[in-house]
């Protein structure tokens, strides 16, 4: 028996990014007792890194915008695999959620009328992203953090949950350890909200931090909840490619939103060459029309750089593969060319303008790459950024297929379908974070108490302690993680083929065996080696799910591009793929038919084609 501390709450929220904080705030407002657990310090979750903005049809900048346009943009972006109910709720509720942040102290950039300013982003028909320079995520997380700490929520910082507890068919809390001291904890709760974010650490080149090891998805999977759409991993078209140590770090889409153009090594603006059918009527004819769009001309169409991310990433990939790339294996992203052009107010643009619009990009390149983006082009290439898939949830309540287990934010699936539009994640967090918190609190109030199963707690602890018992003589966990990342990057990346992915599955099986033998020296106090050992199982689970679903879906759609099935297949457009755990512990992937769309929404989709 290992000692642990027991905490009892009505609702346990795992994760303190935008989704987790918003869920905790809402649950607490419903009058129940709430705990919120996170792996890092408060305010450091991934949400802090978001740059460009949050999408909401406020119609402050273009009064033609409304929830219907936002809804249809989101569905088109997701290639119609989205949970349409979520896309509808998201489009309708995002404006109120954004304005609520303003009520809680967020300070967005302003329009001339003194209202919240909005900017252009890929796939959004009108300027729609509320933002603060290029540090919108910081504004969101700090606002929620500073509001949330006064709401009577019990925060547990730097604690990692390692297993969910169950009671009968129901979720009953979680087991974890605190990273600072290595003490074990059990949080007994009537409802649990998973808001743990994504899985980027399964790949070598990623914009994601160490936290993104797919914990929430794996924990849910292990108690029998369904995962959905796991094949859809978003490769953001513009990550840094040089210097090597910063490879993958994000270059915000805001650069293209402000007019940045993509060039190959011949200086050609190659994005004009390949416009997908779904967007034929929405792309500028030439450079001049594209620029007019950027500065707010309502009659102009967007430049092709602002097409959806999947498309832009593949075009960049093609340029590089066909030998037209930049010296370090990317392409050029040039914002300096807008100097001398006239901005929306007819003033000539200078370096200072660029620096003011994109301050953190300016500093990021200056400090990390010795490059002045107001003078020379950046080198960029695709980076693993986001997972559209995740825990399958009910659109209204965010409850998973396991009673009492809810999910929100990047950890949940549905809103984005086959591809997410930029800016739709931050708004996702607050819309569905709120809903998850509300419904989890209701569930906790309506259903009876849960009981603690000592055996479950002790077996989770035993499993976590095994690598420390093996000690330094076990295999180095970092090596196993690197090998997994290389496997996923090379075999299940942007361009996929069945044979390679089949090899990935074999590799993952081998890596699982190795993961069972990893060990770490040192003790339980703040020991990253040990933490990495514990995280491996989760990474392997999500990696396997991604690979299996990607093999199963024999078509190209949204973020999934299959070289062996390069076309979209209408038949596949009728299904999501669901990952589930078999009784013997093996993984099963199944087709699940989409719910037919409500007629009024169908009509909208037709109308806004």
């Amino acid at each position: 028996m290992t000692d642990y501390q027991l905490h009892e709450h009505d609702v346990l929220v795992i994760g303190a990014g935008g989704a987790g904080l918003r869920a905790a705030i809402e649950a607490s407002a419903m009058g129940v007792k709430v705990a919120c657990v996170c792996k890092s310090l408060l305010g450091k979750a991934h949400t802090v890194m978001a740059e460009g903005g949050m999408a909401a049809a406020l119609a402050n900048v273009d009064d033609r915008d409304n929830w219907m346009v936002h809804f249809t943009d989101t569905m088109r972006g997701g290639q119609y695999l989205n949970n349409w109910r979520m896309a509808e709720l998201h489009a309708k509720e995002a404006p109120a959620r954004v304005r609520e942040l303003e009520q809680w102290g967020a300070v967005f950039d302003r329009t001339k009328q003194g209202r919240i300013l909005q900017r252009n982003f890929g796939g959004h028909r009108y300027p729609r992203l509320a933002h603060v320079g290029d540090r919108t995520g910081l504004e969101m997380i700090r606002t929620l953090q500073d509001h949330g700490i006064h709401r009577g929520i019990d925060f547990f910082m730097e604690c990692t949950t390692i297993e969910l507890l169950t009671d009968g068919g129901r979720v009953a809390g979680a087991v974890g350890y605190d990273r600072e001291r290595g003490q074990f904890h059990a949080w007994l709760a009537r409802a649990v909200v998973i808001a743990t974010g994504g899985v980027g650490k399964a790949f070598k080149i990623t914009s994601n931090s160490w936290e993104y090891t797919g914990d929430g998805q794996s924990l849910a999977y292990r108690v029998g909840a369904d995962l959905m759409d796991m094949e859809f991993v978003q490769f953001h078209p513009t990550g840094m490619v040089w210097p090597p140590s910063v490879r993958g770090i994000l270059v915000t889409e805001g650069v293209r939103g402000e007019g940045g153009r993509l060039l190959n090594n011949a200086g050609k603006r190659f994005m004009f060459d390949d416009i997908p059918d779904l967007y034929k009527n929405q792309v500028a004819k030439d450079v001049e029309e594209g620029w007019r769009y950027v500065i707010g001309d309502k009659n102009a169409n967007r430049p092709p750089e602002l097409l959806t991310r999947d498309h832009v990433a593949r075009c960049i990939n093609r340029e590089v593969k066909e030998g037209r790339g930049s010296p370090h294996g990317g392409v050029f992203l040039d914002i300096a060319w807008i100097k001398g052009r006239q901005d929306a107010n007819g003033k000539a643009i200078d370096s200072h303008y660029i620096e003011r619009k994109l301050p953190s990009m300016y500093h990021q390149f200056k400090q990390l790459a010795d490059i002045d983006i107001t003078a020379v082009a950046m080198e960029v290439g695709p980076t693993t950024h986001y997972i559209m898939g995740g825990i399958k949830v009910d659109g209204d309540s965010q409850m998973s297929t396991t009673p009492g287990l809810f999910a929100a934010g990047e950890a949940a699936a549905g809103l984005h379908g086959a591809n997410r539009l930029g800016g739709n994640s931050l708004s996702d967090l607050i819309v569905f974070g709120k809903r998850a918190g509300e419904y989890a609190a209701k569930f906790a109030r309506d259903k009876g108490a849960v009981t603690l199963d000592q055996n479950q707690v002790q077996s989770a602890i035993r499993k976590a302690l095994a690598p420390l018992e093996r000690g330094a003589s076990g295999e180095n966990p970092y090596q196993v993680m690197y090998d997994l990342q290389a496997t996923m990057q090379d075999l299940v990346g942007i361009v996929r083929v069945e044979s390679e992915m089949a090899r990935a599955i074999e590799e993952i099986a081998k890596l699982r065996k190795r993961a069972a033998g990893v060990g770490s020296g040192g003790d339980r106090t703040y020991n990253p080696g040990w933490h990495t050992c514990v995280d491996l199982e989760n990474l392997l689970t999500v990696a396997e799910s991604i690979a299996r679903c990607a093999i199963e879906r024999k078509e190209s759609r949204g973020a999934q591009f299959r070289e062996d099935y390069p076309a979209k297949d209408a038949e596949w457009g009728k299904y999501n793929l669901v990952t589930r755990r078999n009784a013997d512990g093996s993984m099963k992937v199944e087709k699940a038919a989409l719910t037919p769309m409500r007629d009024d929404l169908k009509k909208l989709v037709e109308e806004y084609k």
Binding site: L41, Q103, V107, D109, E180, S245, Q364, Q367, A472, N527
Partner: protein, 248 residues
């Protein structure tokens, strides 16, 4: 690839010492990369905090060759290579392990500051009417990534350990952002003066120098707060009005 020497402080609150590590580094690497390399290859249990690797989260604060820095934003090629690079935890807070310190005090202290208290919204949909020029200063202060480097260098905390009486530059910036918010209605001046120790700051500006977000902590946050306090509590007319119970 060339090889460098790192001298990393390792230990906990009770004891510790410097350990030397030799490692190979690539073009363009930052200090955090080198630390991670040592962690992956030689010392898996080396404790260090990080998240974003891009200067956005404020997790990786440490003292590099005695200078308070974000490790992820400190390029190795900006440091002399003829001597080992010394990396130590920040000093104003208790040590947990290696480069990780217990910064929870900052989070507890923040709770004692009155949160944002808005006036009624100006538009029926809930938005405030605020012009860009009226919020520039607030936005400057809201850039703070809570790296606590300013807390680390402020002598009032670092040398005089006035953690009970003084909230430090970070939380003065936080207070200033609230006080300067055009839609905020709360009054924090009395608590700033009495519990939060604004008077302890003697404008040495060390905090401003180390701020990775280039927030002009002293000039744009602390001095305006101090001026407001003086106005409110030491202006003879105001004092009379306050005694009579008349508010501004």
């Amino acid at each position: 690839m060339n090889s460098i020497q790192l001298r990393i402080w390792r230990g906990d609150d009770s004891s510790g010492q410097y350990h030397d590590y030799k490692t190979e580094v690539d073009d363009g690497m930052v200090v955090l990369d080198a630390v991670h390399k040592v962690q992956a290859e030689q010392a898996p249990d080396l404790a260090v905090r990080w998240n974003c690797k891009a200067g956005k989260c404020g997790s990786c604060s440490a003292e590099v060759n005695g200078m308070p820095r974000l490790m992820c934003m400190t390029r190795l090629n900006t440091l002399p290579t003829d001597a080992p690079i010394t990396i130590e935890p920040i000093r104003a807070f208790p040590r947990v392990r290696d480069l990780v310190t217990d910064v929870s005090w900052n989070f507890r202290k923040k709770l004692t500051i009155k949160p944002f208290t808005p006036r009624k919204p100006d538009f029926p949909d809930g938005e405030f009417k605020m012009q860009q020029e009226d919020i520039e200063r607030v936005q400057e202060h809201r850039k703070c990534i809570e790296c606590f480097l300013c807390q680390n260098v402020c002598h009032v905390l670092r040398d005089h350990h006035k953690h009970d009486e003084f909230i430090g530059p970070r939380l003065l910036v936080y207070s200033a952002a609230l006080e300067l918010h055009p839609a905020d209605t709360a009054d924090r001046l009395k608590s700033l003066k009495d519990e939060h120790g604004a008077g302890y700051c003697n404008i040495t500006k060390c905090c401003t120098v180390v701020c990775p977000e280039h927030i002009k902590i002293t000039d744009n946050a602390i001095i305006p707060l101090k001026e407001r306090i003086v106005d409110e509590y030491y202006d003879p007319l105001k004092v009379v009005l306050r005694v009579l119970g008349v508010r501004r």
